[in-house]
Symmetry: C2
Subunit: 451 residues, 2 copies
């Protein structure tokens, strides 16, 4: 016998889990589509050099790549994608002439990383990405925030906060302080602020990893990161004095102001938007706005939707400059956070009606009644085996069917059926076969079989 387990870091999803994901993906798809984003699909397998090209992924991600080989294939040639951004870059470079710009695409699919397995960390997980490529407009920035907002609203997520920054603000600060050359180390340290705390970050900025800042510079950086968080008007009000006359920071601040105004016009509630001027989002390729999204009270679980603006998406693959903006919703983390919040959406997945197969009664009758219900748009399952009807009804109760349709030998003679409420056990008897759709619909609309 072979052990039916899955490999470490991988998962099976049972119907309840799979239904929940399916519904969330359907809602996201609706939101993306409503804004004019169009789907694309790229293969799970990419050529290795596409994934490992300079800047495609962080060193950490590259270490986690799954290589793919088949008999007769060349080792090292193929690998599984680790995100949907590199495939987007490749796709756009390849197809942009045909597709034109602005090009708005969404993609939802599995990505693979050989991470050390740990609670809530999976080696295969689902990302839901949307991007607008080929526009530098602040309208596209604002729309990215709107879509994150609408997507979370669409799944009835509990209260959440979208944290906004513009990378040029930190750039301007470092310029002002004369420490632009230590940008990477500073941003890396800052990204730890909410998790590691002030002390740890101050110490890292002061000594470690080559950042080596003066006490004054550390104080300024931390002031921006700490006092730069909060309600947009307040933060923008106090931020004016922090950046001297840096034109870079001024551009960033003015962009943030525009985004905040535009998303309000687009219907995003003010309370959902916060600025966080210390937010860096490690990845080097962001050049304008950046955003992260947390569920209120569960910030420690990290961002469920993140993204930003980049200057040049596909420079590995084409000389054509392709600026853009987009974000990615991490479905698995989102589900984990919702579960932690006790806000997992219900997944009463199965069809409402179970048509039983009475022992000794020909199954044609059950199939005919079920087919009528389905034609009328009412899902109906026929129990396949003519076991005791009580057992069939118990199966229905357990699976979440709401109504049982029963035709015994007497009912068969009279061409009628009994309709049983699987919750209350109320049963109406002797209903005409012709009335199956109207009777079932009435019971479903009423939420119960009325005696």
């Amino acid at each position: 016998m072979i052990d039916p387990r899955v490999a470490s870091g991988l998962r099976d999803l049972t119907p309840a889990q799979a239904l929940r994901r399916e519904r969330m993906l359907a809602r996201f798809r609706d939101v993306f589509a409503r804004y004019g984003y169009l789907p694309i699909e790229t293969p799970h397998i990419e050529r290795m050099e596409v994934l490992t090209g300079k800047g495609a992924g962080s060193e950490e991600v590259l270490r986690q790549i799954f290589e793919v080989t088949n008999k007769g294939g060349t080792p090292g040639e193929l690998a599984l994608r680790f995100d949907l951004t590199v495939p987007l870059a490749r796709f756009v470079a390849r197809h942009v002439e045909q597709l034109g710009t602005p090009f708005k695409r969404y993609a939802m699919g599995a990505v693979f990383r050989g991470e050390r397995p740990a609670k809530g960390r999976f080696r295969e997980f689902t990302q839901c990405d949307f991007d607008t490529v080929g526009s530098e407009s602040v309208v596209a920035d604002a729309e990215t925030v709107q879509v994150v907002h609408d997507a979370l609203a669409a799944i009835d997520a509990p209260a959440f906060t979208i944290h906004l920054n513009d990378r040029r603000i930190l750039d301007g600060l470092l310029e002002t302080l004369g420490i632009s050359d230590r940008k990477a180390a500073v941003l890396r340290a800052l990204d730890k602020l909410s998790k590691a705390g002030r002390e740890a970050v101050a110490s890292e900025l002061g000594q470690a990893t080559g950042a080596g800042l003066s006490a004054e510079a550390i104080g300024r950086v931390l002031e921006v990161a700490e006092r730069g968080r909060g309600e947009p008007d307040e933060v923008l009000g106090r931020a004016g004095e922090w950046f001297g006359s840096s034109p870079t920071a001024a551009q960033g601040l003015s962009q943030l102001r525009r985004v905040v105004d535009l998303v309000a016009a687009g219907g995003v509630e003010r309370a959902r938007i916060r600025l966080d001027l210390g937010l860096a989002r490690g990845l080097d390729y962001y050049t304008g706005i950046v955003l992260e999204t947390t569920i209120d009270g569960l910030e420690r679980m990290g961002s469920v939707a993140s993204g930003g603006r980049y200057d040049n998406l596909a420079s590995l693959f084409t000389s054509r400059r392709l600026p853009g903006v987009g974000a990615s919703i991490g479905l698995d983390r989102l589900l984990a956070v919702l579960e932690e919040a006790g806000a997992t959406p219900a997944a009463d997945g199965t069809v409402p009606v179970l048509v039983t197969l009475f022992p000794g009664v020909e199954p044609e009758i059950a199939l005919r009644l079920a087919a009528r219900l389905r034609s009328a748009g009412i899902g109906a399952e026929v129990f396949p085996d003519p076991i005791t009807v009580g057992k069939q009804l118990a199966y229905g109760s357990n699976r979440g069917h709401r109504l049982g349709v029963i035709v015994g030998p007497d009912e068969r003679e009279r061409q009628v059926f009994n309709l049983r409420d699987l919750t209350t056990r109320v049963e109406r008897r002797g209903l005409a076969w012709e009335a199956v759709v109207s009777e079932v619909r009435a019971a479903l609309d009423a939420g119960a079989v009325r005696p």
Copy 2:
């Protein structure tokens, strides 16, 4: 620069292609769900021993396995799934105690085979599977046929035929002829009948691959295969004399008769069902009904939906006997056949409304109008850059938007907009912002902007 191509045998899907697939998958999901099938998901990566266990896949399929390794992982331990049946078997063995039977599941996803790339052959393709596990009922057999029928009807496929057989009929024939020991070779040869023709199959049965049948046996086998095709009543009428008193064949024939009657009761048109008593479907694990589905006139392109009944799904993984029945729709082949038939479903994918961004007019207005439309369930895209409005409208025409919403400086002053039909170029001017939903809906309902 890195070449942005995909590896041989893999594909990018542009929005038009991806939309088409997305819609077909949504329709299939609806049909599966309507019958009470529930979704499950299993990882794309399985443990190698799960995939290569005895009988899990044919030798050909096993040669095509993609191995997966990451840094620090053990070579030979992991691989990409090559179908959704082996993962189902593993899943059921692992979870059946919790889930109970009958267990009806569907799964739709990518599978991987390192086939030699050729036209219409891909190394990554999508299967849409549904199965009922834990029931031996003919009702479950019939339902499998119904679901294939309803799924193809749901995507408005052109006329198609579901070819049915029961494996016991051929088993009985071989028993009668005393050649059961050469079953594998005979079935292999018979599966080629529609493609290779009578001569080739007769010769293979006579000489090659160890089948070595007598001329009489060859004649009997070919008679069943050839005269056993057609309208169910006719085939069943003439088949009685072909199998002597074989009880095995009699069981098979009687099962086919029941399935034919039941699917008719379930609403399947008679014209869609044909018997094909020579249909074997190579795979060893089928033990009862088998089915294939072809688009009429394009039979040469092969089956688009195939399946059958098996005695014991998960014997590699559990001692619990799990009989079942199910089928798989091959999405990629189906799309290829539909394309060949000129029946590719339209994919006018984008939202109906393009809200333009007039140069010099604040984008808040566009975002507000678009948000109102979306709240009313009408998809609306805002063009992100304030370029010449003519260019924006041309983008809309090209992408398939039907209506343009335009607010220039004059309209802004008067709080009105112009609504332009991007097909006819008819434009209604001076409509109140408050009326944007009703005006747009009226134009969409009417199919045009009326002057």
